[in-house]
Structures are given as C-alpha cells and as structure tokens.
C-alpha cells in the first residue's frame, strides 16, 4: 500500500511493552481502541514522531519515517503527519486563523496565502466568523473543529486523532462525531483514530484495531468486532456475553465450568462463545420446551437503564441478561434471589479463538 500508513513497532513505556503492527490504506479510517493505559496514545505519538520507537519501522505514503535497522528517524516536523490532540493543544496566543494557518506558514507558504487557505478551511467547518478570535473563547465543539482544520490545513499525508471526542460534553459529542465522520471521509490519506470508546470507534472507523496491555488483540471491521469480540474488554463494551471454551459438536465445555449448547456447526477446539444479553430470558419457574440452555442462577445485580434492565447472574458461567422493565415487574426480581435463565442455541455465536 504505497499511499497508506504502515506501522510495525515495539516500544517500552514504563512497565508497558507495546508491540503493534497495523496498516491503514489511503482513505481508510482505522480506530485503535482499547482500555486506558493500553498504549494507544504512545503508538500515536510514535507515528507522529514525538516518541522514538525501540524497534521497527513506520512507513507513510511510500516514504520511510522511521526504521531502527537503518537508524533512520525523521523529526516530527518532517513527517507530514497531522495530529488532532486529545485536548486540542490550540495556540491560545494566536487567533483562530493563525492557528489554522500555522502549518502552512511553518512550511514556507507566504503569510497571505496561508491565511487564505486557513479561511477556506474555517468556512468549511462553519467557523468563518470566528477567524479573528482567540481559540480559548470558543466552545468545546468549536475548538475541536479548529484543531481538526489546523491539522488538515497543513496538508498532511496522514491524520492522527487522539481521543477526538473525549474533551467534549455528552450533549455535543454525538453532533461533533457526525461532523467529524464527514470530514474524515473527505480526507484522502490514511486516518488513525485512537479512542477508549468502542462506540466512538464503531461510529468513526472502517476498521478497528483493539489494543490491550500493549498487544493487538483483534483487528477487524466494526461489525465483525461487535459481533465477534475476542476479548472480555471489547465484549463488555459492545455489550455481549463472551465466554471461552472447547467446542465439540453441538456443545461447548466452558473454561470456567459448565457447558452451553450451540448451533450444530463443525466447530471444534478452542472457541469464543458470544451470547447477546437480549437473547437471554429470565423465568420464575423452570421453563419447558425445545433444546435450550437452561439453568438456575443467583441474581447478583440489577441495573435499570430507562426501559431496559440489565440483570447480572452468577454461577458458571456468569451472564448478563437484558429484559424490559415490564418483565422485571412480572418476575419480581431482586438481587440475592434465584432465577431460571434460558437462551436458544440458535442465538449463540461460536467462533474460533
């Protein structure tokens, strides 16, 4: 991929050993997602040239940015990598226009031309009338847009975004996310977004790279990752019950004890078992009927979220069921009590580990 971004690096930050290999094609948006402290921002800074890598190489648009075997290491200002930082890092002593023109002016564009380019970008994100103000006068969403066009106006070969929505309040976040998605779609080069919010990642990115504890645990498009999570962390965040076990025919013996019936596939060996909480039913009495996974379990926690209720049950395995508020009233459920749970084998997804 000559126009894309290729990263294959190992780094050490404190106690964290980071080992990441990923490729982003031109025009593609890849989200690096993972829990806090997983090494996402470290990776981003390495690509930007703000941190050296211990070993490996970084290529961008047919150019090698860093290669530890040859000792090549381009400085940040030589990389053509645009960065939108988590807290934007706008230059509050400069006007919004000068912020956006900064990249052009730094690379030798005459002042007047640079300002014209900046004004074009500002108009594109609806900030034309704020060109002369200081960035610290703007709202969070506006600052985010300034940060974005400041990076874009420098005409970078690739764009990196570090938790682009984290600094925003919940109300503006969804609006800005939508706008951001549109602007990123217009960008011709590779885009790498770092976030700890899978929802954000799913909304923004074509492809997800899940990084946990310095390691890539899963790579895939948004739908696949959501449907077939390969780690507890991502499963919990996309809201599925993720179990591990060994498959043989129509059943999987779970690693934590117990077994579940699964669709009769030809899966054998170590597998993931995903069960969506909405597929899990709760009953007061032992349910009867067709091939089902049924057992009695103790209720550990009941969490009400508007008209949905998430009920966590213990035992082997522990699961989360999602029922309606009405069902909850019928069942008269409370933590500490026992309940029968059931889900159809057809509602279980099995995929290899």
């Amino acid at each position: 991929m000559t126009d894309g971004l290729g990263v294959d690096v190992t780094m050490r930050r404190g106690t964290l050993d980071l080992r990441v290999e990923l490729d982003v094609a031109a025009g593609e948006i890849v989200a690096v997602v993972g829990p806090n402290g997983a090494g996402k921002s470290t990776l981003l800074q390495a690509v930007a040239g703000l941190l050296p890598v211990a070993a490996g190489r970084i290529d961008l648009a047919g150019r090698t940015l860093e290669d530890t075997t040859t000792g090549l290491r381009l400085a940040a200002e030589e990389r053509d990598v645009g960065v939108v930082f988590q807290d934007y890092l706008l230059f509050d002593h400069l006007s919004v226009r000068e912020n956006v023109a900064f990249g052009q002016r730094s690379t030798g564009t005459p002042r007047r031309t640079a300002r014209a380019i900046a004004d074009t970008w500002l108009a594109r994100v609806g900030l034309a009338e704020h060109a002369a103000t200081r960035p610290d006068r703007l709202s969070g969403g506006q600052r985010q847009r300034v940060a974005l066009v400041r990076a874009l106006a420098a005409d970078p070969a690739c764009l990196l975004l570090d938790e682009p929505l984290a600094a925003l309040d919940v109300d503006t976040r969804s609006t800005v996310r939508r706008e951001l998605r549109d602007h990123l779609a217009d960008f011709a080069g590779p885009v790498l977004v770092v976030t700890h919010e899978p929802l954000e990642a799913l909304a923004l990115a074509d492809r997800l790279v899940v990084v946990e504890d310095g390691q890539v645990t899963q790579v895939g498009d948004a739908a696949t990752v959501a449907r077939h999570p390969r780690s507890d962390w991502i499963a919990r965040l996309v809201g599925v019950n993720l179990l591990t076990g060994t498959a043989s025919g129509g059943a999987v013996a779970l690693d934590g004890g117990g077994a579940v019936r699964v669709p009769d596939t030809d899966q054998h060996g170590e597998v993931f078992v995903a069960v969506h909480p909405r597929s899990v039913s709760l009953h007061r009495d032992e349910p009867t009927g067709s091939p089902r996974n049924v057992w009695k379990a103790a209720i550990e926690d009941v969490e009400v979220d508007q008209d949905r209720v998430r009920v966590a049950v213990g035992g082997a395995p522990s699961l989360v069921a999602e029922v309606t508020a009405a069902a909850l009233a019928d069942l008269d459920l409370a933590a500490g009590g026992d309940v029968w749970i059931s889900f159809k084998a057809a509602d279980v997804t099995v995929y290899p580990r």
């Binding site: 930007a48 940040a76 990389r79 930082f85 230059f91 990249g103 400041r150």
Partner: protein, 290 residues
C-alpha cells in the same frame, strides 16, 4: 491555664471553670486570637515602617525646590546617561545570553544541573564586591583571561564602560535566568509538539510558540535584570572603578556626592527610587498582588 491571656485583650470569657469540653475549648480559645493578632500586627507594622521610614526620610530631605536645578547638573546628567547606557547594555547582553542559559537549564538534560545552576545564580547571593574582585581576577590585566584578551584584541575591561557593563551583567543576568527558566518550566511543551507536527522547525517553534508563552516571565525577568543592573554598585566600583562619564554610574555618583554635595546625592537617590517604583508598577501583576 486557659483564661489568663484574655484579660489583656479585654474580652473575658464567661465561664471561669477549668473544665474544657470540646465546644468550651472554642469559646475559651477565642479570646487568645486577638492578642495574637495584635502582636502579629504590631510586628508587621514594624516591618513596614522599616521600609517606609527611610523612603519618607529620603523624600523629606530632598530639597524639592532644587530638584530642577540639580537634576540638570552635569554630575547628575552624566551619571544618569551612563547608567542608562550601561544598564541597557547589560540588559541586552543578559537577554541574549541569559535566555539560552535558562533554556539550557529548563530543557536540556544537563549533567550536574544543580551545581551549574548554583554557579549561575551565585551572583544573586554573592556580595557584589566579591563579584567585582572575582571579575578582576578573571578579566583584569593580570587576570586569567584579561591578560590574553588584552594582548590579542587590545581590549581592556577594567576602568572602561565595557567593564561597568560586564559588572552589571554579572550581577543582573541571574535574575533574568531564574525568572525565564521558571517560565520555560511552566510553559506547556506539548504545544511545541503540536507545532512540530504542523511542520514547524525548532526556530519557528521557539519564536512563535515558546516565546509568546514565556513572554510574561521574560518581561518580568528583563525588568528585574534591568533594575538590578541600574542599582549595581559593588562589583562596578571594584572591577570598573569610578570615572565620571566612563564608569561612574548613578549609585557610584550617589555614594561620592554624599561626601561633597549631599543634596545632589539625595536628588539622584530619589531618581533611582522613582525608577525602582516604576519597575515595580511594571511588574505589579507579579509582586504587588498576592
């Protein structure tokens, strides 16, 4: 125990009893506070008086009617002109050399950083006369560098205006260095990172990002540095000597005029005082507000 002090403050607590329950403790300790406040206030007023009275004395003894005549007297004019020239020169040198030194301390991983910093700020605590002697031993005619310097370039520092500038720079630059270093440490270095990802060279970053960030510190450092250079006496008199128009700066002139024309000395002192006050006003955000 508890109720001995209050009488002095004139507030006697109602309960004379020795038991001191938790709430009673508050009640019986309350009368103590005023007396502590009185003592502290007295001491504070005393401290203020120490600063204020000499100023009043100086203003009171200055022959105000003679100011117009004295302030244009050749001795005062000459000393003032020289002081302005030398202090501004010292400020310029201190800025050109001191800002990089502050950067060096703040941003570079310097071995023996604390030791080097201690050396650089030593003139702030060193008696200026000692500084002058040290300068003589280094840059004097017999000095470590002074001799070779004179042989090679023909430049002689002692007894010259250049020497006075050097003495002033020696004592004043540390004020700029420490202030700017603090500013550099406070500045958000990630803004520099952001600028570098936008393609800015180091020079561009320092000029357009770092410098504006440390501008308040730099301004304060320059003001302090200049004020110190202007008031410099000990190192100048020791290293550069005293010659009207060449090395006799305002403080030196004040010292000598006290022997011959005390009133002119008062006027010159008042002028220096006014300049110091002006510097403080310039720095008001830094030192005049808590």
């Amino acid at each position: 125990m508890p109720d001995t002090a209050p009488a002095a403050a004139g507030i006697t607590s109602a309960d004379p009893g020795p038991p001191r329950p938790a709430q009673g403790g508050v009640a019986s300790s309350r009368p103590r506070l005023p007396s502590a406040h009185v003592v502290l206030t007295c001491l504070a007023v005393l401290a203020l008086a120490l600063f204020l009275v000499p100023l009043v004395g100086l203003v009171a003894r200055t022959p105000l009617t003679r100011i117009p005549e004295l302030i244009v007297s050749p001795a005062v004019v000459q000393a003032t002109r020289l002081s302005v020239v030398t202090s501004l020169a010292a400020l310029a040198i201190s800025t050109v050399l001191g800002v990089p030194l502050a950067w060096f301390f703040a941003r570079r991983d310097v071995p023996f950083a604390n030791l080097l910093r201690a050396i650089a700020v030593l003139p702030m605590v060193l008696p200026p006369v000692v500084g002058g002697v040290a300068l003589l031993l280094a840059f004097g005619r017999r000095g470590l560098l002074g001799g070779p310097l004179e042989q090679v370039t023909g430049v002689r520092l002692p007894f010259t205006t250049a020497g006075a500038v050097m003495a002033a720079t020696f004592v004043a630059m540390p004020f700029l260095v420490v202030t700017v270093e603090a500013g550099l440490r406070q500045a958000d270095q990630r803004l520099e990172d952001a600028a570098s990802t936008l393609g800015a060279s180091r020079w561009t970053i320092y000029r357009r990002i770092t410098l504006p960030q440390i501008a308040p510190s730099l301004g304060a450092g320059m003001a302090l540095c200049w004020a110190r250079a202007l008031g410099e006496f000990g190192a100048t008199i020791t290293f550069a000597g005293n010659f009207p128009g060449r090395t006799q700066t305002m403080p030196l002139a004040v010292y000598l005029l006290l022997e011959s024309d005390a009133q002119a000395a008062y006027v010159l002192s008042l002028l220096l005082l006014a300049i110091s006050v002006a510097v403080l006003v310039l720095l008001r955000g830094r030192y005049l507000s808590p």
